[in-house]
Symmetry: C2
Subunit: 283 residues, 2 copies
């Protein structure tokens, strides 16, 4: 079984970004990361994103707010960031605390700065399979992993486990755009093992530690693990029991070091696309 490492995919995307940066003789594209509160997950993701932007030659700035900020105050702050002409793209760490109306922010964010596809405009574009617009970075990272490894999608039977708006649903539409035949599975799916086993490409985005073992995997299938969980020993693990696939799958992504390593690279790619469009249109 071949291990599909995220680092190699990220390096390919870095080349594309570096090439595109020649088009920015002035300031490099700039990302705003918006965080409310101090959830460890958010802070880890923020550190990773800041490091990746620096490594890719891009600018990034963190905007953090206290966890008890009022809805009104946060909306005012978010509006300032959204309107700031120096900022090309925004990553909002979610979920937001309960007192903040997330729906209002989804409507407020400029679709051209919405790098993680949370605005209705971008959601509708992903659903329709359009070329314009931004899909959620994690969903797109899966496509990048498959493409970078020359795994064709057209006509293939692909099973996606999970139907969230962050991964399962948008990813299903991105796969459909690549002409895959997509089956969307979830907690209510009956005979999940059988359905998964029939897939040529299996994508686990269920959010349940190591739920997928060899009994779900067909011979020579490609297995992509989008899960990020903590196992009983406190270690990071995916939705897939990676070791168990060894004699059955043809290729699989590890966790950590798989899809997760590509997500912030996709964010960087989106940032460059957003900057090109915004700055181009101001000429």
């Amino acid at each position: 079984m071949i291990t599909l490492k995220g680092a190699a995919v990220s390096a390919k995307i870095r080349e594309e970004v570096t090439e595109a940066l020649h088009e920015f003789p002035g300031a490099a594209p700039k990302l705003a990361i918006v965080r409310v509160g101090e959830r460890p997950d958010d802070m880890a993701y923020e550190r990773g994103a800041l490091k990746k932007m620096e490594n890719f030659g891009l600018q990034a700035e963190s905007f953090s707010f206290p966890g008890d900020i009022s809805d009104e105050a946060f909306q005012a702050e978010f509006k300032k960031i959204n309107d700031n002409p120096d900022i090309d793209g925004i990553l909002l760490l979610r979920p937001l605390p309960e007192q903040i109306n997330e729906r209002d922010i989804e409507h407020m964010i400029s679709s051209e700065k919405d790098l993680d596809g949370i605005s209705p405009e971008n959601i509708a574009r992903v659903f329709a399979g359009e070329n314009e617009g931004f899909a959620p970075c994690t969903a797109e990272a899966v496509i990048e992993v498959l493409k970078a490894n020359d795994i064709s999608l057209s006509g293939k039977r692909v099973a996606v486990i999970g139907r969230s708006m962050v991964v399962g649903r948008p990813l299903s539409m991105l796969l459909l755009k690549e002409n895959a035949t997509v089956t969307i599975c979830h907690t209510r799916t009956r005979e999940l093992e059988k359905t998964c086993k029939d897939a040529e490409i299996l994508i686990a985005a269920a959010g349940k530690a190591k739920m997928i073992d060899s009994s779900y995997v067909g011979a020579d299938a490609v297995v992509i693990d989008v899960g990020i969980n903590v196992d009983q020993d406190g270690n990071l693990c995916g939705d897939v029991d990676f070791e168990s696939l060894n004699s059955i799958a043809s290729m699989a992504t590890p966790v950590p070091g798989g899809v997760g390593a590509v997500t912030t690279a996709v964010l960087a790619k989106h940032l460059v696309t957003a900057a090109k469009k915004r700055r181009g249109s101001r000429k």
Copy 2:
């Protein structure tokens, strides 16, 4: 094989609408049908919708414009209809002629009057599986046919053939909302017969006359035909060769007289929902 007739489903929806009309002591909810040009398909659909609204005790008015109306002039006219406080909902017959930017209209239409789910806001809501918002009427008509006939969806294997934004994609999301395991098939799907045969419920929305015969249908499957085509003899026919299913399917919808008969009933239901929301919110 049981024939699932649309008329019975439409009658059930009529009862719901009649019941809901008690909440409108003043003017009945009013639909605007907007047509550009004189395509026979559009005019037939318009006649059907006007008749259905009258039959359901609802108001409807046609707004028709010459096929060569300019983009600017049409936008101005559409804005008037959209802003008209006497109109509770709008059905725009599409596609529009080439000179008109359809995308602009999708953005202009108030999501609360957008009964056929063409605005980004409603598309995003359908994609996310929310309860608010309007799905395209034809897609929702399929769900109504299944529900009215007590065909459960939870956990069922459902194959949808077709991935348009009018039927295939939104219908897949409505099925997912009902907890079906959905496989989206299309022209690039390999082994289409096998995939379809494995489904407990098969939905044909491919737009190809009689392409689905018994070789695509599993034993005792339910077959829903969304196609409206004209066969070589000039007769209306579906995507399914209905007669061929007799010894294999458990139930199937005919064309004409199946899903098509339910679409305008769903439009009426959406109109009442829109009117309730708008008039309620003005209190």
